[in-house]
Every structure is written in C-alpha cells, then in structure tokens.
C-alpha cells in the first residue's frame, strides 16, 4: 500500500484544551476514509493541520512525502473546504467556482456544471444570502469538481435535505470510480456514510481509537439477544460494551466474534445473533470510553468540547 499522508505523534494544544493528543496514523492512496467521532473530538483540527490551514503544537505531518506547510507543490494537490467556510463578501457561487478553476489543476468544469444542476444552486446570488444547504452545496461542488488527489469533506451535508445528501453520496461514489483518489469524509451520520467508506478512523477526545477497514470494524463486535442467563454464558467473559435488559431478556453487545462451535451453542440456547451496525459500534465504543473517563476523573471528555469551540472560533 502506498500512503499519501503520514502523521506521527501529532499534538495540537489550544490555550486551555488539548485537541489532538499524540495522534499517529497513515492514509493510503485511493481510498475513502471515514473520519468519525463526536463533536469536538478533533476531526476538524486534524484536517486543518493536514492541509496546513492550521499548525500543530508538536508532531509531524507528511503529505506526498513532504511537510504541507507553506508548500504549494503539496497544497495544490489537496482540497479542503471547511464546514463553516467563509467566502469573500461580494462572491457568488459563480465567483467561487471560477476561483476554484484557477487553483485546482484537475478541476472538471463539466462535473461542476452537472452538480450545480443537481443541487439547483443559484449561481448569481451572493454566497452570504444562500441558505445553509446551498452554502454546503457550494463546498461539496468545489470538493468534488476539484478532483484533488486528496480531498477532505468536513461534515459536508449540513443543511442538505435527504435527497441532496443522497445526490452527494451517489456523485461521490460515481466520480471516485471514474477518477480514483483519496477522500477523507468526516461525518456524524455514520449509518448514512457507512456504505461509502472503506476505512474507519475513529477519533475520540483527541486520540485515534480505531483505525480499521470498515469490514473489520463491523466484525469487531457481536450482539446477542435472549434469555439473560444464556446471554451471559455466550458472552463468556468477553468485554461488554453495551447491555440492555427487560425482565429476563437481555441484549448484550460485546467485543469479538463467536467461532463456529460457540455460534452453534448460542443458537441451541435459543439466542438471537444480530449484526452490529457501524454506528452502534462507534456510539457504544465512544460512550464506554467517556464513561470510563468520567469515573477515573480523566479530563479528556470535557476538553474535547473546548477544543471544538477553539477551532470554531478560529475559522
């Protein structure tokens, strides 16, 4: 595998908050990554630093083998339109796309025109008068039509209705198939993007807590439902990440898979095995962590939200 981005021990500290805490990961070429995590987990901060829009406190970032900071050679191959992107006051979508055409060498005007149609975007209205959804559409169109070798989408769907979001997902996949590239998509709507993403980077309180292929991630946990005592036997000492009960019926999600014999025993006990969706897994994992943090008095769970305010105020 060929990694286009390498991150080592990346730390970003704002005045009173630790947004990224010694993070290390690689991003492989030509894959769609889901950068998942709660608000304030450090997603936007990470993307800002990778695109040199923000500077790390310590640690190293390499994009195409080089430091991206003030590096036009590297930056011109990347595209990152923020979720709260600001545009020049007088700018209309037409201006924004004309500018993008100037600066992104692989810009595809035909694709941009199709997307403008798809999203029914008014081209001549100034951007500050657009609705939230239309504003998001401007960012989505720049991100897709730039066809940059590494493209970041930071919660690109804000204000987009379900139809428009589906257009975005469909267009993203279609164009990705046509022009393979590396895409990092940060999202809260994990269920919606789970069919899109090939790899999951789960970030929580400034740390990477999962770096797996989407397939492996789904296989990380198992859910069994049925008679409480039988469920406990099936769990068999594995780490439980979620437990619900009603009377004698229990539903337990635990880490790990069942082998063939265990699976047979579970079925013989009258238990039901249910798949765990990516969203459930991630919600359970992050909940479990913040619960643990609270009980040990760890401050990470709260610093996360401070970090979000920080990055928010800076953009």
């Amino acid at each position: 595998m060929n990694s286009v981005i390498q991150v080592r021990n990346l730390t970003k500290r704002y005045k009173d908050a630790l947004a990224l805490d010694g993070v290390s990961f690689d991003i492989e070429q030509d894959a769609i990554y889901g950068l998942l995590g709660r608000n304030g987990a450090g997603k936007t901060t990470a993307m800002s630093i990778l695109t040199a829009q923000n500077l790390p406190t310590s640690g190293e970032v390499r994009v195409f083998g080089e430091n991206p900071y003030e590096n036009a050679r590297v930056l011109s191959r990347m595209c990152f339109v923020r979720e709260s992107q600001k545009y020049p006051d007088d700018a209309t979508p037409r201006h924004a796309f004309a500018a993008a055409r100037l600066f992104f060498p692989r810009w595809d005007q035909g694709l941009a025109d199709e997307l403008i149609d798809d999203f029914q975007l008014p081209l001549k209205r100034t951007i500050k008068k657009l609705s939230r959804g239309q504003l998001s559409a401007v960012g989505v169109i720049i991100g897709l039509a730039s066809r940059a070798e590494v493209t970041f989408f930071d919660e690109p769907y804000l204000g987009l209705d379900a139809v428009a979001r589906q257009i975005f997902y469909d267009r993203l996949l279609a164009d990705y198939a046509e022009v393979p590239r590396t895409i990092l998509l940060s999202s809260h709507l994990i269920d919606e993007v789970s069919n899109l993403i090939e790899r999951v980077l789960l970030i929580d309180a400034g740390r990477i807590i999962m770096d797996e292929s989407a397939e492996d991630a789904r296989a990380l946990a198992t859910n069994v439902v049925g008679d409480a005592a039988a469920v406990e036997r099936a769990v068999n000492g594995r780490e439980v990440i979620h437990r619900e009960g009603l009377g004698r019926v229990a539903s337990v999600t635990f880490l790990g898979r069942l082998d063939g014999a265990e699976r047979a025993a579970v079925v013989a006990d009258g238990l039901e095995l249910a798949p765990v969706s990516l969203q459930q897994l991630i919600v359970r994992l992050t909940q479990q962590r913040s619960g643990r943090d609270r009980s040990t008095g760890d401050a990470f769970a709260s610093t996360g939200s401070d970090a979000d305010t920080q990055e928010g105020s800076l953009r």
Binding site: Q6, R8, N9, S48, T51, A52, Q53, N54, L55, E60, R62, F64, G65, E66, N67, E70, N71, A72, R73, V74, L75, S76, R77, M78, C79, F80, V81, R82, Q85, K86, Y87, P88, D89, D90, A91, H95, A96, A98, A99, A100, L102, F103, F104, P105, G139, I142, A148, L314, R315
Partner: protein, 246 residues
C-alpha cells in the same frame, strides 16, 4: 516508526501563476477594490470643487486646495483590512500558501494603487493646464507634492496607497490572529511611542528642526522614506500572517 523522512515522493510541479491568480481572486470583490474607491474619489472631488466654487463666489481669488483629495488615499486602509479579512479564509480553501496569498494581495493593491495615482496625475495635469478649473481650485495638483514633477507626484500618490494598504492589512491580521485585545495593545504601544517622540522633541525644543527637516526633505524625499517604511510594514504583516490559522 516515530519520525518521517521525506524525499521519496514524486516531485510534482508547482502550478504556475498562482500568485497572479490571487489578484483575480481579490478583484472578485469589485466593490472593495473598484467601486467604493471610485465613489470615494468622485465624491471627494465633487465636494472639493463645490467648496472651491463657494469660496470663489465669496470673492476669494487666491489658490484654493483642500484636504479632500486625501480621502481616497486613506480608503486604502479599508481595502487592506478587507483584502485580509474577506479573502484570507477562502484563499485557504483554494489551497494557497500564505505567502502566495500575501504577495498576490499586495499585487492586487498595487493594481488599484496604480489606477488611483494615474487618475490623480491626470487630474493634476488638467488642473495645471486650466488654472484649477478656471477658479484656482486644486484637488490633485498640490504644489508641494508636485514640486519634483508629475512622475514624483505619481510615485508619492502610489506610495501613499501602498502605505495605507499595508497598515490596514497588518492591523487586520493582528486583529484576526490576536483578537481585539491584541490589536488594542499594539495600538496603545504605537500611541505610547508617538507620545514619547513628541515628548523628546518638545523637551529638546527641536520642533523647528523637525519642521525644517520636513520642508527640506520635500514630498519626493518623504516618498523615498516612505518606501522602505512600507516595505518594513509588509514584512511585519507577512510574519504575522505566516503562522496564522485559517
């Protein structure tokens, strides 16, 4: 692996003309860069001429020159502020380096500044030829500025626009990076330095000498002084911008 080495990557070419394209990016704000300065220029001209005409009607025949023509030059402060605050965040979405953005913005200001100085010089030549529109009123042709000829006057006007632009741009950068408190502290420090200078000159009873220096240096000399000062301001702005988050 805890450290990363570079060099393995394929060397890609930097796309050309990115800096020049920043000029086009800045001129998306036609209102900021063209219409408002044009309006300030036309407005201050009309007002000045009206005032000259009124004074002339009251029987004053000697040379009339007002400070109204400074307004469009001062407006470059606002252009500097807006070039920074409006366009910097978007320049980051366009994957520009801060250096490309800064130099391109300076170039955009220079285009506006050249336009403005050209109008001033043409107006000044016209005023010179018509004896101040026939009413001895001068908007652009100020004796002192024109002492060394039209080219020196053009340079003076152009330098003034760049000087104000750079100050506006730097102050906006300080505000964006260090907030209102940071900018206030800088302004107070500047005020303090100015008061210190005034105190020094006053206690040394050196005001006549200062006045003489200004007269002796002349508009051209002052312009030549202003060029390196503007250069220093530009370096300061760039250093402030260089490590600023988008």
């Amino acid at each position: 692996m805890t450290t990363l080495d570079s060099g393995a990557a394929l060397q890609h070419q930097v796309p050309r003309n990115r800096m020049l394209n920043v000029v086009r990016l800045q001129f998306v704000n036609t209102q900021t860069f063209i219409w408002v300065p044009a309006l300030v220029l036309a407005g201050s001209w009309v007002l000045s001429i009206m005032i000259f005409w009124i004074i002339g009607g009251a029987g004053v025949t000697e040379v009339k020159a007002g400070g109204g023509s400074q307004a469009p030059l001062w407006y470059f402060l606002a252009i500097g502020i807006q070039a920074m605050t409006m366009t910097f965040p978007f320049s980051q979405a366009m994957s520009l380096t801060r250096r490309e953005f800064f130099l391109g913005s300076l170039a955009a200001a220079a285009v506006s500044g050249v336009g403005m100085s050209l109008v001033f010089v043409l107006l000044g030549l016209f005023e010179q030829a018509t004896g101040g529109y026939g009413i001895n009123g001068y908007f652009a042709y100020l004796d002192w500025v024109w002492a060394a000829g039209p080219f020196a006057a053009a340079l003076a006007y152009f330098t003034a626009t760049m000087f104000f632009f750079t100050i506006g741009f730097w102050f906006a950068t300080i505000f964006k990076r260090f907030g209102a408190l940071g900018l206030t502290i800088v302004l107070l420090a500047l005020g303090l330095a100015l008061v210190g200078f005034i105190a020094l000159v006053t206690f040394q009873q050196a005001w006549p000498a200062v006045g003489q220096w200004f007269m002796a240096t002349g508009a051209l000399g002052l312009t030549l002084w202003a060029i390196p000062v503007t250069g220093l301001l530009a370096v300061g702005s760039y250093l402030t911008l260089r490590r600023m988050p988008a």
